[in-house]
């Protein structure tokens, strides 16, 4: 079972190492970890997806909360979440298959962001399931390269 933790941290050197080190020490398997600035200067936000049950996720959140540079951690898994993943996919597409690939991209509401001689680069945003579905279909044409940004998540509404 994967759990989504949202952490607000001070934007200081070594914070990522502290967070990742703690997860390693407490034997937590990180599925994805994204970090970036927030609207507040000096504060970064992490979305951490871990493979664990609810109880262990609560424990790791408490341990993370003890880190001096961690402002707050929440296991947001069971809250109404908008969770998105970004993927760039380079797929083989020459004369014959190009139109077909572009049609699939349209269906998945993804975008073509680069056109090569015999390949297309596609940008897809959505849940992991959606991205996975797109990749599965594109594999029949030959996926040459792929990169994913990891889950970012936010709780709906205002608190």
């Amino acid at each position: 079972m994967s759990r989504t933790l949202i952490a607000l941290v001070e934007d200081k050197p070594g914070v990522l190492a502290r967070v990742a080190g703690l997860m390693r020490r407490r034997a937590f398997n990180i599925e994805s970890l994204t970090v970036g600035h927030t609207h507040e200067p000096g504060i970064s936000r992490m979305t951490i997806v871990v493979d664990s049950d609810e109880k262990s996720a609560e424990k790791v959140a408490q341990h993370l909360n003890k880190l001096v540079n961690v402002i707050g951690v929440e296991d947001a898994t069971d809250r109404p979440l908008v969770a998105r993943n970004l993927a760039l996919i380079k797929v083989r597409a020459n004369g014959g298959s190009r139109a077909e690939v572009m049609q699939i991209v349209e269906t998945f509401r993804a975008r073509v962001v680069d056109v090569g001689l015999d390949s297309l680069m596609i940008e897809a945003t959505g849940t992991e399931e959606k991205v996975e579905g797109l990749v599965q279909v594109l594999e029949t044409f030959g996926v040459l390269e792929m990169v994913q940004g990891g889950r970012v998540a936010m709780v709906r509404g205002t608190e």
């Binding site: 190492a17 502290r18 408490q62 909360n65 003890k66 001096v68």
Partner: protein, 576 residues
């Protein structure tokens, strides 16, 4: 005031109320040491940096203030590591200041460069690499605040040489540091506290488990009130010893693997455990699924991560213990628990025979008698510092601690070599108290070089060496659980009296029971350091710590002192 980074270190140490630093200089911390003489701070020069860390830890535990250790970069800093981990596991407030190679060299594998903040990341409460002298004063201020607030712990500051040399206008920082992610202590949730009070008032067979947190929060008086108000038995953890007077009628002694049978019986028979400032270490619970099977659990701790970590609590209270206990006292109703207390009184009589001191003496010199003699002669009032192993458990079982903050020992990490340097720190913190370092022959030799520190500082630490010529606790496990195959536990030791004598320390050797008391009495007369070696039973019933809960066994499945006691024992005699 224009000051160099090196001067700011000492200015800030003075500012934080530090009067002693334990350390050893080297290339990358030379600039800071160069300014030491300008400031009114005592420096204790150790022989190995591990000694500095343990001494700072011992100082912290004996004084309740932050202990400070200083070392150079690379090997100096890595030598601190065992001491830092020891302080981390036992929540001891400590600040370590390490030199680092100049900023421009960091990452280049320069001479004596090690990634010290990386290495100590998982064994410090927090650590810092200071790259700008402008941030130094604030960082030191913050480090002291973090080390001693909330659940205390070690903090390390890594200080590159160029930052020590750089100058700036020094303004001492005031007030609480701004740390948006740091919440040192919480107040109890009144609703949850009421639930705890309900469980307490309903309980028929309550046992209070008192841990290190009781001593660190200074709540021993509140604990006594609570126990007496409830009519509850009180068991203590190893680090909680002294939180409740051992001679009190409600005391059932130390719990756990080498705890007293009475304590473990009471816990297993309880219908309510009230755990205060303790963390259900595996050495305390025994087999977890058989732990206190009939008991509901109330757990109060200052650290949220400790609640429900090992044992699921029926009521978990995140709080500063002093506030929680104070409020709880007003909610506890007087309940007659005479039946429970009389059952405990019966157990007390029944299990007394398991104590070797209550058996007929066989004439051999055995460790429990040494500890008992120490207790009698010091009236149980000494500040006792132990190393790790059999002697540590014998001390816990037989010294009968009456006073708070009178036992300093490495509980969580179980660091051999802790005893002597920690005793040095403790004596520096408490110059007028009688300090006994009780050590084994294995652990003593891990930091034996600190005898030099002891002599240089002329500290009146008394050392009792419980010598059985073995890594005794390991040998005991081999005897009981590994087919008596004594793999790599026999020690060929030096003549300790000669060795210690070479440092100029008065030293006695005791081989016979009859000589024991007199040697202790003589050592107590010395105005400086003194040393007594006790060549105790090496093997057999009087060479083992009893009772014992086998690893993986339930807390009440204890191995008791064998019957018939130890009459005519000849096992493991010392060679003539």
């Amino acid at each position: 005031m224009r000051r160099s980074g090196a001067q700011i270190v000492w200015e800030m140490l003075m500012h934080e109320g530090v009067d002693v630093v334990f350390g050893l200089p080297g290339g990358s911390i030379l600039d800071t040491y160069h300014c030491l003489q300008e400031y009114d701070i005592r420096h204790v020069l150790v022989r190995h940096e591990q000694g500095a860390a343990h001494a700072a830890d011992g100082y912290a535990r004996a004084s309740g203030r932050v202990g400070v250790a200083m070392a150079t970069s690379g090997p100096g800093a890595t030598n601190l590591v065992t001491g830092i981990a020891t302080a981390m596991l036992d929540s001891s407030p400590m600040v370590c200041i390490t030199g680092q190679v100049s900023s421009s060299l960091i990452g280049s594998d320069a001479f004596q460069e090690a990634d010290v903040t990386g290495i100590t990341l998982p064994i410090t409460k927090h650590n810092y690499l200071v790259t700008d002298v402008e941030e130094l004063a604030e960082t030191i201020h913050e480090a002291f605040y973090v080390a001693c607030s909330g659940r205390p712990g070690p903090v390390l500051i890594d200080l590159p040489k160029n930052v020590q040399q750089a100058e700036t206008d020094f303004v001492p920082p005031e007030g609480e540091p701004r740390l948006p992610g740091y919440r040192p202590l919480d107040r109890p949730d009144p609703e949850v506290l009421a639930m705890a009070a309900d469980l307490i008032n309903q309980a028929e067979r309550p046992v209070i488990l008192a841990g290190h947190g009781v001593l660190m929060s200074g709540t021993t008086a509140l604990l006594k009130k609570l126990a007496e108000g409830m009519g509850a038995a009180v068991a203590v953890t190893l680090l909680g010893m002294g939180a409740f007077p051992h001679s009190h009628s409600l005391s059932v002694g130390m719990m756990g693997m080498h705890g007293e049978a009475l304590a473990n019986k009471a816990i297993q028979g309880a219908d309510l455990l009230v755990a205060l400032g303790m963390r259900f270490d595996d050495r305390v619970t025994g087999r977890l699924d058989a732990y206190a099977p009939q008991a509901r659990k109330v757990h109060i701790d200052a650290d949220a991560a400790e609640l429900n970590k090992v044992v699921r609590a029926d009521v978990a209270i995140l709080s500063d213990l002093s506030v929680a206990l104070d409020e709880l006292l007003g909610m506890v109703e007087p309940v007659d628990r005479g039946q429970w207390l009389s059952r405990i009184a019966q157990w007390r009589v029944k299990y007394q025979g398991g104590n070797i001191l209550h058996r007929p003496h066989n004439g051999r010199l055995a460790a429990p008698y040494v500890i008992d003699s120490l207790r009698q002669q010091t009236d149980g009032q000494a500040l006792v510092v132990t190393d790790v192993g059999q002697h540590q458990m014998w001390t816990a079982l037989h010294y009968g601690l009456e006073r708070p903050n009178s036992l300093i020992t490495s509980g969580g990490l179980g660091t051999m070599g802790f005893g002597l340097p920690a005793a040095i720190g403790a004596q520096v913190a408490q110059p007028s108290r009688e300090v006994w370092a009780i050590v084994g022959d294995g652990g003593f030799q891990m930091t034996i070089q600190e005898l030099g520190t002891l002599v240089q500082e002329n500290l009146p630490v008394r050392i009792a060496l419980i010598n059985n010529g073995y890594l005794g606790m390991v040998r005991q496990w081999q005897e009981l659980f590994y087919d008596k195959r004594y793999s790599a536990t026999n020690l060929v030791n030096p003549d300790f009296v000669q060795l210690v004598g070479a440092y100029g320390i008065p030293a006695w050797r005791v081989k016979h029971h009859e000589e024991m008391s007199a040697a202790i009495a003589e050592a107590r007369q010395e105005s400086g350091p003194a040393f007594v070696e006790f060549q105790v039973s090496r093997e057999g019933a009087d060479g083992n710590v009893y009772p014992m809960v086998a690893p993986g066994a339930a807390l009440d499945e204890m191995i008791y002192l064998p019957e018939p006691a130890i009459e005519g024992a000849t096992e493991g005699e010392w060679p003539a």
